[in-house]
Amino acid sequence: MTNAGTPAKSRPATDAAMVAQSAAVLTVLPRRRRQWAQSALVFVAAAVLALILSAAMLPWAFSRYEPNAMDLMATLQAPSLEHLFGTDALGRDILCRSIYGAQISIFVAACAVFLAGAVGTALGILAAYFRGATDAIIMRLADVQFSLPAVILAMFLVGAIGASILNLIIVLTLANWARFARVIRSEALSLRTRDFVLLAELAGASPLRVMVRHIAPNILSSLIVLATLDVGVIVILEATLSFLGLGIRPPDPSLGTLIADGRGYLATAWWISVLPGLVLMSLILACNTLGDYLRDRLSPTLAMKW
């Protein structure tokens, strides 16, 4: 059957498509600009975090003073080359105390987030997988913890078991595990309905194998985001408790106690409170920025659940 069609039109397609694609690129630029701005912010945050962490790890490299060494000749000195952050009422170098304070704050927060994360994740997965009674018990426990604001729960516990670094870590863990349990449980619940979990069970896999091999790896990205964001929250909580005298006890320096020490001298020596506070803020700012970046990349839907 010969084709009575008219002669083919001029060569369509490929070059027109090329023109079109370039036009499309122009409209997509604002998105590129935003991504560039975000990665710059994240780079700065990572740098700040690296600086604070290295200072905390190697305090002697950053300041030749001792945290509790008093120099009664140099009390309440303003920030100077000699004392970058100035000195407090007892002549102690505030930069050095801030570094050691950051060291303790980071250590305590890291331990608390790790413990709360481990406990919360395990309970979250168990609750989601076995449902029924296990789920109800775990979730009611979480509700109990949620029903008391962290600070007040912490105050109550510190009041009962006294203030020490170990107790502080315990308090921070007890006041924070429920957040992990709830979010991980909802992630695990949605995974539970996925076919590959049913297929694993129908292949004869034991509940443990299903949880470890199929559910856990798939909640890892949410866990990482949650932990990073949570460090900021815990650092704030620790600093608040130390500020109220319920966390790290003087003379050991914690960013919270440093801010507390300086309260009386706001008029004459503002740097005693303000500078350690800025260190605290930049630490939390860096953690939150990194956490946001990870959340956008790893699990965008997490924003709603947290």
Binding site: P30, R31, R34, A37, D143, F146, S147, L148, P149, A150, V151, I152, M155, F156, V158, G159, G232, I236, A239, T240, F243, L244, G245, L246, I259, G262, R263, L266, A267, W270, S273, V274, G277, L280, M281, S282, I284, L285, N288, T289, D292, A303, M304
Partner: protein, 269 residues
């Protein structure tokens, strides 16, 4: 509680009068019995029923907390909505900055900063205590900004998710004006998670209030608990903590009922 020179006999007398000589179990059961009746025991410091002391102070905390919550909602929600609607615009970027900084400044430090600047340096506002409105401004802002940041982020996330929904595409297909699509269709759905979050914020605010009250010497519950712990006045601490826990559970119940009222899917099963 006893003067240092008290003799062993005095000490023994006090122990027996407080029932501390009884076995632990008995003490605990008696304690629960009192609790059921609402008797939280006498406060050592105030020599009044613990709960009445607590109830006196709770008013101040509520004023501070709800003002802060008001700030959080009035600032957080509009910015959250705008930055979701006009993504990647200047509102979105400033909103994100406002949120990141807000969540990085612990309320107590933010309070200290404000005192240093507004009270000490500029002398506009009192450094603490209670009285007229001017006493409330700084503590409420110190507490409010932190929770406004959280509210803003959640509103933005919830609004963005709703704007991608099929029924919003259907609203556009119907040719509805932009404002109707955003403020009627989208907002009504987006506000559901925001309500639950705001209620949960109350807990965070109560926690934050403790440190803010300490910074600004605001005579609220937190300040009271703090002092009571230092003076080992446990009855006050127990009464206050119980009150907070009960009120918090009541709030959660209220939110569930509110949720059912707004979301027909729950109401008309």
């Amino acid at each position: 509680m006893l003067p240092p020179e008290a003799t062993a006999a005095d000490r023994e007398l006090l122990r027996r009068s407080m029932g501390l000589d009884q076995p632990l179990v008995v003490q605990y059961l008696r304690f629960l019995g009192d609790l059921a009746v609402g008797d939280f025991g006498l406060s050592y410091r105030f020599n009044q029923p613990a709960m009445s002391v607590v109830l006196e102070r709770v008013g101040h905390t509520l004023v501070l907390t709800f003002t802060a919550l008001g700030i959080a909602v009035l600032i957080g929600v509009p910015i959250g909505v705008m930055s979701a609607v006009y993504r990647d615009s200047w509102i979105d970027l400033t909103g994100k900055l406002f949120a990141i900084v807000g969540q990085s400044a612990p309320p107590f430090f933010f309070g200290v900063l404000m005192i240093a600047f507004f009270s000490v340096h500029l002398g506009w506002l009192p450094t603490g205590g209670t009285g007229g409105l001017q006493y409330l401004i700084m503590p409420a802002i110190a507490l409010g900004w932190y929770s406004a940041a959280g509210t803003m982020r959640l509103t933005r996330a919830s609004m963005s998710e709703v704007l991608e929904a099929e029924y919003i595409k259907m609203a556009k297909i119907k040719g509805l004006p932009q404002r109707v699509i955003i403020y009627k269709h989208a907002l009504r759905n987006a506000c559901l998670p925001v309500i639950t979050f705001t209620a949960l914020q109350l807990g965070v605010l109560l926690g934050g209030a403790v440190s803010v009250e300490a910074v600004f010497a605001w005579p609220g519950l937190g300040f009271l608990i703090l002092k009571s712990i230092e003076d080992l006045d446990y009855t006050i601490v127990q009464a206050a903590v119980t009150l907070i826990a009960l009120s918090f559970t009541a709030i959660n119940l209220l939110v569930d009922l509110l949720y059912a009222w707004i979301d027909p899917r729950i109401r008309y099963d």
